[in-house]
């Protein structure tokens, strides 16, 4: 009986799973075609009042997105008299973000402005939201192009890669040497794209003396990034420079370097905010770092959202719209709008900026 019991259990499970299996392979309806994103053509070029525009960052409680959304997006939405909101998961996972997309789609939000945690995983939910009538703008981190109407890119990956490699090369000096990258999470769409482009950039003859020896991931957590920085230096005694193209990572690395014997010997650059990096620029840990202005990014994304929902633009290449104080922007290939080149901060200018 004992044996019988356990076998019965196993058989029951197997039968149930087999059922799931056959059910999987049969079935079912074809997908709904994505709704046409065509606008009605707004000749006057003014953004409609009363639009509901909601920002959905990778996660809430993140200083970067607090600035982009609340200091940028909100300002813009208030300028054209819409209703601004920010919502999102407390952890940066794609599945949690999908749940929020569904909620926004149910709430009849006019435009969802999202920084995607996974370029594919949020696609189904975004397509469903578009079918229900919402417009979709991505900013900071894109989805597959067919899942959104417009991507507001903070800087082209190419621009960032060129900037970062130039900065580390200048900091390490003419003799070159080993360098490493400390990234955010291993899955971050934008980070991985930039790292690939940095490798391309490093292959150029003028950087032949720089050798990329390692890439590590701090998951955009301060403590983990700090430990990874420590680990890099322990593992590579000849390391001459670290690039950390993420605000959390570069600040944590700077904190580690400035308190260690490597200060001034191992160069550091990355994408950081002036407030977090000011002290380290002044104490010589980091000569220069770069970033765009996150508030401008949110501001531009909000104007793109307003223009889209008002029918001024549809996301076609060549569409033009006015983005308040930032001036006129043109939609490029694949529905991309580029904010501009990354901006380099150093000891000479860092005091003129106050954010982050």
């Amino acid at each position: 009986m004992r044996i019988g019991s356990t076998r019965l259990l196993a058989t029951a499970v197997a039968a149930a799973l087999a059922l799931g299996l056959t059910a999987c392979s049969s079935d079912s309806t074809e997908p709904d075609a994505a709704s046409p994103s065509g606008g009605s053509g707004n000749a006057t070029g003014t953004i409609k009042e009363g639009l509901k525009i909601t920002f959905l960052p990778k996660q809430v409680n993140n200083p970067y997105f607090d600035i982009s959304d609340n200091k940028g997006g909100k300002v813009a939405v208030e300028e054209f008299k819409g209703t601004f909101a920010q919502t999102g998961p407390s952890e940066g996972s794609p599945s949690a973000q999908v749940s929020y997309i569904n909620t926004l789609s149910q709430q009849q939000t006019d435009v969802i402005v999202i920084s995607a945690n996974d370029k594919d995983a949020v696609c189904g939910a975004l397509t469903e939201a578009k079918t229900a009538g919402a417009k979709v703008v991505t900013y900071d981190s894109d989805t597959r192009p067919e899942c959104r109407d417009i991507f507001v890119n903070q800087a082209t990956g190419d621009g960032i890669a060129k900037n970062q490699i130039k900065l580390i090369s200048d900091a390490v000096g003419p003799d070159g040497g080993e360098i490493a990258i400390l990234s955010a999470s291993a899955n971050a769409t934008n980070q991985n794209a930039w790292i690939e482009l940095m490798k391309t950039e490093l292959a150029k003859p003028e950087y032949s003396k720089l050798k990329l020896v390692d890439t590590v991931y701090g998951d955009d957590k301060d403590e983990k990034s700090f430990q990874e920085a420590q680990g890099l230096l322990a593992k590579h005694p000849n390391l001459k420079g670290i690039i950390s193209p993420t605000t959390v990572g570069v600040a944590a690395t700077a904190r580690y370097l400035s308190g260690s014997s490597y200060k001034g010997k191992v160069a550091l650059t990355g994408l950081g905010t002036p407030n977090q990096m000011r002290a380290f620029v002044k104490d010589g840990t980091c000569k220069a770092f770069a970033l765009w202005n996150p508030a401008d990014l949110g501001y531009l994304a909000a104007y793109a959202a307003g223009a889209l929902a008002s029918g001024i633009i549809t996301g076609k290449e060549g569409d033009k719209f006015k983005a308040g104080k930032l001036g006129e922007y043109t939609v490029g290939a694949n529905g991309e709008v580029v904010l501009g080149d990354p901006f380099t901060f150093d000891a000479a200018n860092v005091d003129q900026f106050n954010f982050g």
């Binding site: 499970v13 999987c24 409680n61 919502t87």
Partner: protein, 351 residues
């Protein structure tokens, strides 16, 4: 602890005869959970825009499916006094393996699913061997495999996401039953729930599970194959977690090593909120299913009411505490009620 439980069980029929039926029904934790679910839906529909829409249920169900699936075998495991915390990592490793196989040119869907299920069963069997053969506590073992399986998932797929599956696969996975908004996959969950429900509540195996949870030693002496039963429960949990992984991969159209990160906590929360005792020996599947629905509905309703994410986690945490305190409180109240009744002399001599 154990001898008391035996007496408690023996005393049950007497109290049920003597208290009015409505009180018995109300005093059951499972009923409380079902009532809470109904209440959330009623209040939500009346006060929050969007709650109660067909689309609301569709989204709630889509989110609840993986949790509900894994909660089924997890209920059985917890009833035996064990736990499996590696389930979400099993989902992640299954997703990674499917992604890697797809990239390696395996394009047959049934084969991909079959390999995943077998992989899940093997991962469950590893847990089972550590717990039953080496006699290690399942809490420690599965915290270990939680990290191990997640690590392996990253070894298999690295930082890539595999997302180029045929669109028909990914849309079929979340397609509704024709004429409704309900995703068809819920039928798979329903069939499994029925199987696990019958197994737990209507077969000798089910009774054996409760016996093991109440006192494994006594169960062994009374002829129950304690270790073998536990082993197969871990295998079943692994296989069902793998099925959840298959669903996850196609639902999000994305196989990634970090898929379902942290899902084990949602599953355990639902099982405990459903009235299953963390000490084993107590619980019913209906309560767990109602708890999965309650947590999902509440979460989505609060999201629609623009409650921020931080407050949401506080609500979930509070519910979890309540779920541990609640059933104990209900039992204490019952106990008090029973003690007020005069004890028949015959049973007194039995004690």
């Amino acid at each position: 602890m154990a001898p008391e439980t035996v007496i408690d069980l023996a005393a049950q029929p007497r109290t049920s005869r003597q208290r009015p039926p409505w009180l018995r029904t109300f005093a059951s934790w499972e009923t409380t959970v079902v009532l809470a679910l109904v209440l959330v839906i009623l209040i939500g529909s009346a006060t929050i825009d969007g709650v109660g829409d067909p689309r609301f249920y569709r989204f709630v169900i889509l989110e609840a499916i993986p949790i509900a699936l894994i909660a089924l075998p997890m209920t059985l495991i917890v009833i035996t006094g064990e736990i499996d915390l590696s389930v979400a990592s099993t989902v992640g490793l299954t997703c990674s393996a499917m992604g890697a196989l797809w990239q390696a040119g395996v394009t047959s869907l049934p084969l991909l699913i079959l390999v995943s299920l077998v992989l899940g069963a093997v991962l469950g069997a590893v847990n089972g061997v550590f717990v039953t053969v080496f006699g290690l506590p399942s809490l420690a073992v599965t915290i270990g495999t939680l990290a191990l399986y997640r690590g392996l998932a990253f070894v298999v797929l690295g930082d890539k996401a595999v997302a180029d599956y045929p669109v028909s696969w990914t849309t079929n996975m979340i397609a509704p039953i024709p004429g409704t908004v309900v995703p068809w996959f819920v039928l798979v969950v329903a069939v499994l729930a029925l199987l696990f429900g019958v197994l737990l509540h209507a077969t000798p195996i089910g009774r054996a599970l409760y016996a093991i949870g109440n006192n494994a030693e006594a169960a062994a002496y009374s002829g129950i194959a304690v270790l073998r039963t536990k082993f197969w429960l871990f295998v079943a949990t692994g296989a069902v977690s793998a099925l959840a992984g298959v669903f996850w991969t196609f639902r999000f159209a994305s196989a990634r090593a970090d898929n379902a990160d942290g899902l084990e906590l949602s599953v355990v929360a639902a099982v405990l909120l459903g009235g299953v005792s963390i000490f084993g020996g107590r619980g019913a599947l209906l309560g767990v299913i109602a708890a999965v629905a309650l947590l999902g509905t509440l979460r989505n309703a609060l999201q629609l009411a623009d409650v921020p994410a931080n407050a949401l986690t506080i609500v979930t945490g509070t519910l979890l505490i309540l779920s541990v305190v609640g059933p104990n409180l209900v039992r204490t109240v019952r106990e008090r009620l029973r003690r007020r009744q005069p004890t028949p002399p015959m049973e007194r001599t039995q004690r």
